[in-house]
């Protein structure tokens, strides 16, 4: 029997939502610091307004719906999805005020693209955007990559069973440490350490490549946030081409790969267990899928003799592939137009697969691909071996685990959902008159939170398609369950008792 949500449940959700909004308000004060450093007056007002709106909503919700009760599963899930939607509307206020977007919908698109670490953009005249707004775009990726609710878990919510529900709701099924709060804090510690190291390294390289020191460190900070969180925004419309530097490309490749690694694997590395890299099912699958998709991309390019020499094939092909596979969206191409169909298909496959689970990437995730293939091999073995033979398939994921049928079923389900999601966007794109391959490319890019574009995502694109992509980005990032809970809630309101 479907039950309508009770006022008590709604009160709990709104109270915790208020707390998350307050944290978001504090985060939107950070670009103010940037506007002070670079002496930007008008952008400062955009963030004063934006953070003020967050605090008003947050404080009102916290005061009106004050409660000490904990969240249950469905409430946790609902809170997560609501937080993401509300965060999108609030984050887009300063962006819209910058006057670099045609409409508020475009600013919302940009905010969701940032939070979901997609990287598709509808900005106009990025070259003249203020430092503060640019920092905000990249900070959104850093917040969204780690998870909006992870922020709240780290600083606000007490270590409770409710916390775990919110953690799972943000598409992180694995606990790294026994306590979910410690897990959240570990994720933030890892991210901050890498942020500092990455910014320093890229900053120094930037200076060596001709950037001015202050600008170089600002660029490196933003590029790190977009790279490690597999976002793909950049400070200039040329994306990574702006720097004309192979060294910066190599460093950003390492950022992207770092971001695509499961935080659980990061923990193993941090605790000195380096062998885990070679044993883990995710790294093994990632290696194979990169190899196969790279072969497809290069084969397609080589068929058309696209580039003059092998080094250029590798430079162009490998960068786009890693960017696609890790779901980042950095590019060293001006346009995908002209790329052979086979290479584009290779990129679509790579985008669809994504990186590690419990990482900042989107897409199906290589863990699930690994499990599905293990399951397939298990079935083949079953056919080949005598009926009386008893065996169990094992895999390594920080420890040796036995493959279970339910695990395979769940992985297949999520994979199927993703494939449906990719095709829904493609069909809508085709309905608006775009070619199928390009629609599929853009739809996969949005759903798997990649950000590579073959030209459909533009301010002039139909509003409905923008809304579809916003939904795809959000659904892709949260991995369905939280979104299903919202649909369930709506259904319960309509049909429940």
């Amino acid at each position: 029997m479907l039950l309508k949500p009770t006022p008590k449940q709604i009160k709990k959700i709104l109270y915790y939502l208020g707390r998350i909004i307050i944290i978001f308000g504090f985060l939107s004060l950070l670009p103010l610091l940037v506007s002070v450093i670079f002496r930007e007056t008008e952008p400062a007002f955009d963030f004063i307004i934006g953070s003020g709106v967050c605090f008003i909503f947050g404080f009102i919700l916290v005061r009106v719906f004050k409660t000490d009760e904990e969240l249950n599963w469905i409430e946790g899930m609902l809170l997560v999805s609501l937080s993401w939607i509300v965060a999108m509307f609030l984050a887009s206020i300063p962006l819209f005020l910058s006057r670099h977007y045609h409409s508020y919908l475009d600013a919302c698109f940009e905010a969701m693209s940032g939070l979901a670490t997609t990287g598709l953009t509808l900005i106009i005249d990025l070259e003249h955007l203020s430092f503060a707004h640019n920092f905000w775009r990249h900070l959104l990726m850093f917040i969204g990559g780690q998870g909006i609710v992870i922020v709240a878990l780290s600083f606000l919510v007490r270590g409770s069973s409710g916390a775990f529900k919110m953690y799972v709701g943000e598409a992180r099924g694995e606990k790294i440490l026994p306590n979910v709060i410690s897990t959240s804090r570990f994720i933030w510690t890892v991210s901050f350490v890498y942020l500092c190291l990455g910014t320093i390294i890229l900053g120094i390289v930037g200076i060596a490549e001709g950037l001015k020191p202050l600008r170089s460190f600002f660029h490196s900070l933003c590029i790190f946030m977009a790279g490690f969180d597999t976002g793909g925004f950049s400070l200039h419309s040329q994306n990574i081409i702006y720097y004309h530097s192979i060294l910066i490309e190599i460093i950003t490749i390492s950022f992207m790969i770092l971001g695509a690694i499961n935080f659980k694997l990061h923990y193993s590395l941090w605790t000195g267990n380096f062998k885990e890299i070679f044993k883990n099912i995710e790294t093994k699958t990632f290696f194979f899928t990169v190899l196969i998709s790279f072969f497809i991309v290069i084969f397609g390019l080589a068929q058309r003799c696209f580039y003059p020499n092998l080094v250029i094939y590798f430079r162009r092909g490998f960068y786009q592939l890693i960017s696609a596979h890790t779901g980042t969206g950095f590019t060293t191409l001006y346009s995908m137009k002209g790329w052979p169909i086979l290479s584009i298909l290779g990129l679509i496959v790579a985008m669809g697969l994504g990186g590690g689970s419990c990482s900042t990437t989107g897409g199906i995730k290589v863990f699930r691909i690994g499990i599905i293939f293990k399951g397939l091999f298990q079935d083949i073995k079953r056919i080949l071996l005598p009926e009386s033979a008893v065996f169990s398939e094992k895999f390594h994921h920080t420890q040796k685990l036995i493959l279970e049928d339910t695990q395979i079923r769940v992985c297949l389900q999520i994979t199927l959902f993703y494939i449906i999601l990719y095709f829904i966007g493609a069909v809508v794109g085709v309905a608006f008159g775009y070619p199928f391959l390009e629609s599929l490319f853009e739809s996969t890019s949005a759903s798997a939170n990649v950000g590579l574009s073959c030209g459909i995502t533009q301010p002039q694109m139909p509003a409905l398609l923008k809304i579809i992509y916003i939904i795809q980005m959000c659904v892709g990032r949260l991995e369905f369950i939280s979104i299903f809970s919202i649909l369930g809630l709506l259904w319960a309101i309509l049909k429940g008792r």
């Binding site: 670079f38 003020g52 200039h236 040329q238 081409i241 702006y242 250029i312």
Partner: protein, 159 residues
């Protein structure tokens, strides 16, 4: 005689201008028809954005023609110096570049670029005055004022 020379000069100036105009290409044309323009002499105009990044044998500039930006390689011999590069509150120098377009430059490991042979300043850039919209100031005051009222009232309620 003077009149004839004057008209001849005007005629040549007109031809030269048209020769340039014929080669003048936009960034989108170059990107879309990259293979067609590969290795050809082009004229490209636009605003310098970001900054000049100097390397061993020359410098990189990114020039935006209002649609997209393209990388321009400036050899050291040209001795080009930048006045303003476009950014927030800055209108960059508008320049015209005559050079060779490369679809996938071997010298720069596959960069799509223009190797400049000649650069001409069309319009010097400038710093733009930043005017804060009064509506924004008023909105900020109202929002934060309202926020203060909420905080004070809740404190009073608690007390």
């Amino acid at each position: 005689m003077k009149k004839i020379i004057f008209f001849i000069l005007i005629f040549f100036a007109f031809i030269l201008k048209n020769v340039n105009a014929q080669n003048l290409v936009s960034s989108s044309t170059l990107i879309e028809k990259a293979e067609e323009f590969d290795g050809k002499a082009v004229v490209y105009r636009g605003e310098i954005i970001g900054e000049m990044m100097c390397r061993k044998n020359g410098c990189w500039l990114n020039v935006n023609d209002g649609n997209l930006s393209l990388g321009i390689w400036i050899p050291k011999e040209l001795n080009f110096s930048l006045r303003y590069a476009g950014g927030y509150k800055i209108e960059g120098d508008r320049i015209e570049i005559e050079g060779i377009f490369h679809y996938s430059c071997v010298e720069h490991l596959g960069e799509m670029d223009i190797h400049a042979n000649k650069i001409r300043l069309i319009k010097e850039g400038r710093l733009l005055e930043e005017k804060v919209d009064i509506k924004k100031i008023n909105s900020a005051i109202i929002i934060w004022g309202f926020l203060c009222i909420i905080l004070i009232s809740s404190k009073l309620k608690r007390a």
